[in-house]
């Protein structure tokens, strides 16, 4: 492999902030348009009531909630790639972790929209927050929805923090090269980073601490989202294995999203040199592994429902496969269960566009998975008199489409304003490659520290 030229890194990445391919603008324009349509749909829904979204009794939850789960799920891969791989010190994460983290942040921001859109009385949203009031009324801490609210805000804050902390050295680089309106922005965000050794040491430590905090948090967040379902008594929601199943599903769809965005960025911002086939292969392998775990949990869920022999749950399971929602379930099984086996072949793993389309298929599968978690159990519930089938209406679909556009728009704008490849880490990677065989630099961190302390003392 032709190695990355150290000297070109800054130039290439900073270049991406200025002149992406023209397609970039086309994509942005489409996104803005779709988002505006979505806002219109939401306005319409707000004015007329949720009935226009074509949910009904007993389908009180539908696409908004499955979208919510989908977006929360997507946010997991960023953390995984950057925090877990940071801790396990996988060097190949370095060119891609920045955009994966950005993806985390923006997907969680997208996800957070859905409970709000879904709410019957949006204007009373703040009641969900535990704020002290004269009435001494608190939200209901037993409700999984409240845990959700807490988990999401925590996760959003910490992943934003993680993203930001990891970006400080790059901000300094940008600051040094920026002109115009970008200059004060980068100056503020770089927090006066001078690249001194002492700063580096503090930075490293902070970064690792935040990463350590973030990994269990990420797992817990999706477990809590799973408990929205698992804590209910709706048959086929009330499943003990939902938390790990959701976490696996989250990582799975997240990885698929990373692949999609990987290819997209590589093309739009001309990152061919950084986002290489080797890295793609590694992500693909990772995705494949997670897909297998998810497959296992999915089948395990079916089996455990089957052997539990509970009348209600079994009925829903059977309905899933032969009932009105069967196309969704089978579609999910084909897209998310069978399709990933394509990644068993190296040829596929190394083909950029092949992986792009495959990742789209996987994501479609995972999106359908969320839908089939939410809807079929509501269709054939305990009470046979209320059995009914409802498909999401135009408003729901419009808002769903708008959420994808919203995410893409935010993400691309981020990549346009902030370096989507971590310059300093890529430099580090290039440095490591050159020093193959040597110990990791962290091994010597203490020596370096001592040295610095001595120097500082000498200075003062």
């Amino acid at each position: 492999m032709k190695d990355i030229e150290w000297s070109r890194i800054n130039k290439d990445v900073l270049e991406s902030l200025q002149s992406p391919r023209p397609l970039f603008w086309v994509v942005i324009a489409i996104c803005v348009l779709v988002v505006l349509v979505g806002v219109g749909a939401e306005k319409y829904q707000y004015d007329n009531g949720l009935g226009v979204a074509l949910m009904n009794r007993p389908h009180y939850w539908q696409l908004y909630i499955s979208n919510f789960v989908f977006w929360i799920g997507m946010s997991h891969s960023g953390t995984l790639l950057s925090a877990i791989l940071l801790l396990t010190k996988a060097d190949w994460r370095k060119p891609i972790y920045r955009f994966a983290e950005a993806m985390t942040l923006f997907s969680i921001l997208t996800a957070a929209l859905f409970p709000i859109i879904h709410l019957g009385r949006i204007w009373d949203l703040y009641w969900v927050m535990p704020y002290p009031n004269e009435r001494t009324i608190w939200p209901n801490f037993r409700s999984p929805l409240l845990w959700d609210a807490a988990a999401i805000t925590t996760y959003a804050t910490s992943s934003a923090l993680f993203l930001y902390v990891g970006m400080i050295p790059d901000m300094a680089i940008c600051r040094d090269n920026a002109t115009g309106w970008r200059k004060p922005l980068y100056t503020a965000l770089s927090l006066g980073w001078m690249g001194r050794a002492r700063e580096w040491m503090a930075f490293r430590k902070t970064y690792v601490i935040v990463a350590c905090f973030l990994v269990p948090l990420a797992v817990s967040v999706h477990s809590i989202v799973a408990s929205d379902f698992a804590m209910s008594i709706v048959p086929d929601w009330h499943i003990t294995s939902f938390p790990p199943y959701f976490v696996a599903g989250a990582l799975y769809s997240g990885c698929a999203a990373i692949i999609t965005l990987f290819v997209m960025l590589r093309y739009l911002f001309r990152f061919e040199a950084y986002m290489t086939e080797e890295i793609m292969e590694k992500i693909a392998k990772l995705t494949f592994a997670i897909a297998l775990v998810w497959n296992f949990l999915n089948l395990g869920e079916y089996v455990s429902i089957w052997y539990s022999n509970d009348m209600f749950e079994k009925e829903v399971l059977i309905q899933k496969f032969i009932g009105p929602y069967a196309p969704v379930v089978w579609g999910m099984l084909i897209c998310a269960m069978i399709a990933p086996f394509a990644m068993a072949f190296q040829k596929v793993r190394r083909s950029m566009w092949g992986m792009f389309w495959l990742s789209i298929v996987l994501q479609l599968g995972m999106w359908l998975e969320r839908f089939q978690i939410v809807s079929p159990p509501l269709a054939s519930n305990h009470e046979p008199w209320t059995w009914s089938v409802v498909w999401p209406g135009t408003i729901q679909l419009t808002i769903t489409a708008a959420s994808f556009a919203w995410f893409t728009m935010l993400f691309l704008l981020f990549c346009k304003v902030f370096p989507s490849i971590s310059m300093y880490e890529v430099k580090e990677m290039a440095f490591h490659r050159r020093r193959e065989g040597l110990h990791d630099e962290v091994e010597n961190i203490h020596d370096i520290q001592e040295e610095i302390i001595k120097t500082e003392r000498g200075l003062t």
């Binding site: 010190k89 001494t136 006066g192 002492r198 961190i445 203490h446």
Partner: protein
């Protein structure tokens, strides 16, 4: 690997490292546009504050024009007419009621001295047209609030034998000094609770009936538990109905017999008492 060597670090080194972190961060802050950041945070908080609705006084009508400027000060103050003479429904109904026009006329027919005042002329014109007077509601509870005058009046005036103006004044202020009726209390839920939470010992059903005192906390028996130590608790000032601070309630509760305490613990707000 990462923390391997840290374990062997000396105390000195540690403190320096800590200092390092702190200083490093502060240093970073200093160099950056810190005020800028703080400004951002402040702005967010401000926006959030603006979103939280302040609705308590939204229905205040004290500035609005009533069809007739009814002088409460004259009727209730100067002539000391009992509140319930006109608001006769208060003891029998949820609503206190505005007196029917016939009631006003009933007296004013016999008061020729004021017959030619503009207000009275207006009154008689309504009467002659057999039209109701379109008063503006001063104390307008939200529609979703169940409030009954009857229970309050029955309890405090007829059972406790308190003076009418004092009891009415608990919520309506010192009406005998008003020219035009106005709202003196916010009438928010928290305000209701400021009295009611002292009764929270037992729920709606085991509504405590402290025998002689108002505002005596949680005594499900007729024994007035607090009388000895806190004789002043029951004193009411119509303008400033006093609510007992939580600390006092706690202290009082500690003196309660266990059987009573057992009831105190299940005493939630029962929203359905007032909202359905």
């Amino acid at each position: 690997m990462l923390f391997k060597k840290n374990r062997q670090r000396g105390p000195m080194a540690e403190s320096v490292a800590e200092w390092d972190m702190k200083k490093g961060f502060l240093h970073m802050c200093q160099r950056a546009g810190t005020p800028w950041l703080f400004g951002l945070v402040a702005l967010t908080l401000l926006l959030a504050g603006a979103v939280l609705p302040v609705t308590a006084w939204a229905d205040d009508v004290s500035t609005a024009q009533q069809p007739i400027e009814f002088p409460h000060s004259r009727h209730a103050g100067k002539y000391k007419i009992n509140c319930m003479y006109c608001h006769t429904f208060a003891r029998r109904s949820k609503v206190a009621g505005i007196p029917p026009v016939s009631k006003c006329i009933g007296c004013h027919l016999h008061l020729p001295s004021v017959r030619n005042k503009p207000r009275i002329k207006k009154l008689f014109s309504y009467w002659e047209q057999k039209k109701p007077i379109p008063w503006l509601k001063v104390h307008d509870m939200p529609d979703f609030v169940y409030f009954t005058h009857k229970r309050h009046i029955q309890r405090f005036i007829f059972q406790d034998g308190r003076p009418t103006q004092q009891v009415c004044g608990m919520c309506h202020g010192d009406v005998k000094t008003f020219s035009v009726g106005r709202k003196v209390r916010a009438m928010t839920m928290g305000w209701c609770l400021s009295c009611h939470k002292q009764f929270q010992g037992v729920s709606d059903i085991g509504h405590p009936k402290p025998a002689k005192r108002w505002m005596i906390p949680v005594a499900p028996t007729d024994q007035a538990v607090m009388d000895v130590d806190f004789p002043q608790l029951a004193v009411m000032d119509p303008e400033h109905p006093k609510s007992i601070p939580n600390s006092v309630i706690e202290k009082l509760n500690r003196r309660l017999p266990d059987s009573v305490k057992a009831k105190i613990v299940h005493a939630p707000h029962d929203c359905w008492k007032c909202h359905f």
